[in-house]
Symmetry: C2
Subunit: 335 residues, 2 copies
């Protein structure tokens, strides 16, 4: 009788094992293992914990859990040059090598010269996108980016550029998604370029990438249909462009935004005035050894106004040196 009883109890227990997909881990595992145990980490975990506590005063309905991340300098390295600019410079060189007469275009010629870009990074980016991303279908653009990404190496770390993603940010994105946040990239870089990497590197699908966009044109001939990028800028997704695009494309104010430069200021400001509980975060690059130490001194990723405002308003200022246990995966592997 006793053994029969046990068998049935075991049967109940066994039959009721939740499937893998349903399993909610009850063990107290660290949701952000690549972060040091600092106040910033605690604040992030508190925010997410409260946001998901049904009935709590800081609860955020699932449909409103929109999290917006800048890309360059927030999710991956932007020094010594934005990765997409590295691609654009290489493409400009290749275009002139393939068709030497293109060197007559002074802008394209200038684009092969890193120093010229650095003197005027803002103009440089628009020019670069128009000259090296236009007149091409998304598919063909994709092939070019793939080929480049396979061969190009970062000058200091000697790694392929897609390896220059910050592990703590990837962990944070996953942690947010595990808590039913919808993670978006909102970047000054072009959506076309970022989409080549976003799913594989960050788990962010194409439709959750918002970036700078050239005007698209629908071309139809002989039952073949293409959307081609033209040489006109349609949307500059920097500064004011970020909240505007979020409103146009997502139609909801984020509850969390994470940036690293003055180009993210407006997105952080806008997020910080959400009526729902919200969190604005800035990543400060303070780690010359593992990455780079820069802010207002850099012509790339300038962080001055946003930092001042963030400190005054109590946004979380994440310090790479203090808060990141790991920066890049390849550094961890080396240990």
């Amino acid at each position: 009788m006793k053994s029969f009883y046990f068998i049935l109890i075991a049967l109940v227990a066994f039959s009721c094992q939740p499937k893998e997909a349903d399993k909610v881990s009850t063990a107290k595992t660290d949701p952000l293992p690549s972060w040091n145990d600092t106040e910033n980490k605690e604040a992030i975990i508190n925010f997410v914990t409260e946001a998901t506590k049904e009935g709590g005063e800081n609860y955020i309905p699932v449909a409103d859990r929109i999290a917006a991340f800048d890309n360059d300098g927030t999710l991956w390295c932007e020094q010594p040059l934005y990765i997409e600019m590295v691609y654009s410079l290489a493409t400009a060189k290749q275009m002139i090598a393939d068709k030497p007469e293109l060197a007559k275009n002074p802008k394209l010629k200038a684009l092969t010269d890193k120093a010229t870009f650095e003197k005027n990074p803002e103009l440089g980016i628009e020019t670069a996108f128009v000259l090296t991303h236009a007149g091409i279908s998304d598919t063909d653009f994709g092939y070019q980016v793939d080929m480049w990404a396979d061969s190009a190496r970062h000058p200091r770390f000697q790694k392929r550029y897609p390896q220059l993603i910050y592990r703590p940010m990837v962990d944070l994105l996953q942690y947010l998604r595990d808590n039913q946040f919808k993670t978006y990239i909102v970047s000054g870089g072009s959506s076309a370029f970022i989409r080549k990497f976003s799913d594989g590197l960050y788990g962010i699908p194409a439709e959750q990438v918002i970036g700078t966009m050239l005007k698209g044109e629908f071309q139809a001939s002989d039952n073949t249909y293409k959307v081609i990028y033209t040489a006109d800028l349609w949307h500059n997704d920097d500064k004011e462009g970020k909240p505007v695009a979020i409103q146009q494309i997502i139609g909801k104010k984020p509850v969390l935004a994470f940036g690293n430069s003055d180009g993210d200021k407006q997105m952080l400001e806008w997020t910080s005035t959400n009526k729902l509980p919200n969190l604005s975060l800035i990543l400060q690059h303070t780690d010359a050894e593992r990455e780079y130490a820069y802010d207002s001194l850099s012509h790339i990723g300038t962080l001055k106004e946003a930092l001042k405002e963030g400190i005054a308003k109590g946004w979380l200022i994440v310090d790479m040196k203090q808060d990141f246990k790991v920066v890049f995966d390849f550094q961890q592997e080396q240990k």
Copy 2:
């Protein structure tokens, strides 16, 4: 002993009831109960069944299951006037009532007259959006739409406009989502207007609504931040504008598109050349009794070129009279 045995069996059975969210119905329930059992219904079910059969030759990876639906005349009634135009006309009238000097603007004045709009519907829509949707924040725009939607009634059916959604289309959207398709609205109407209804009526969240958009402007003053719609058109989401916006915003070609007019032709063409299995569908309005019978004769929802092409290319031509068991919910309730 026997009763003890039964109790334990019952315990096993009871404890192992799957939670509502996990339940996968194994009963052969009809996934499209509001559709008649026609060839079109069978073709839709076959497409979805094959698309989700892992290892099958017509399998579509989950990430690529993008379904794009036109709104006016596809998801809800567009006769005798686009619903958003009804709103715009009412708003123009209200604006002039509030500020009589606005009547000096000939375009706004013309907008209060339905006959003028009908003579030139294309110009009418752009003018209407610019005049009645601009200079206002999304929140304020939302209040206005809510107020209007509560009081306005459809002239023939005497129902509130949000009641004029097609039950078979709502069922189809749900069926697709149950099979992990991501359902989008891609409409010539404005995203701002559609988003007021999309989640409640169709289960489509704001971020999956793509429509015509006025240029947005970020306004900051005294720590208040707003995105305001200006009087410039940013994107006309009709005809060529539909595939272009899909590429810009979703970044993937749909595997299913559903429209009802020549304004959807390019989206349907583009979808029909997806390398993955795909389905292009046209809803033909053939039911004068339960809804309206119209196509090339109507100044709204003209269906001529798209129908010709759809028949030639084997797209599914859904016939409202033949294929819809129910059109509107309120008609079913009356029976």
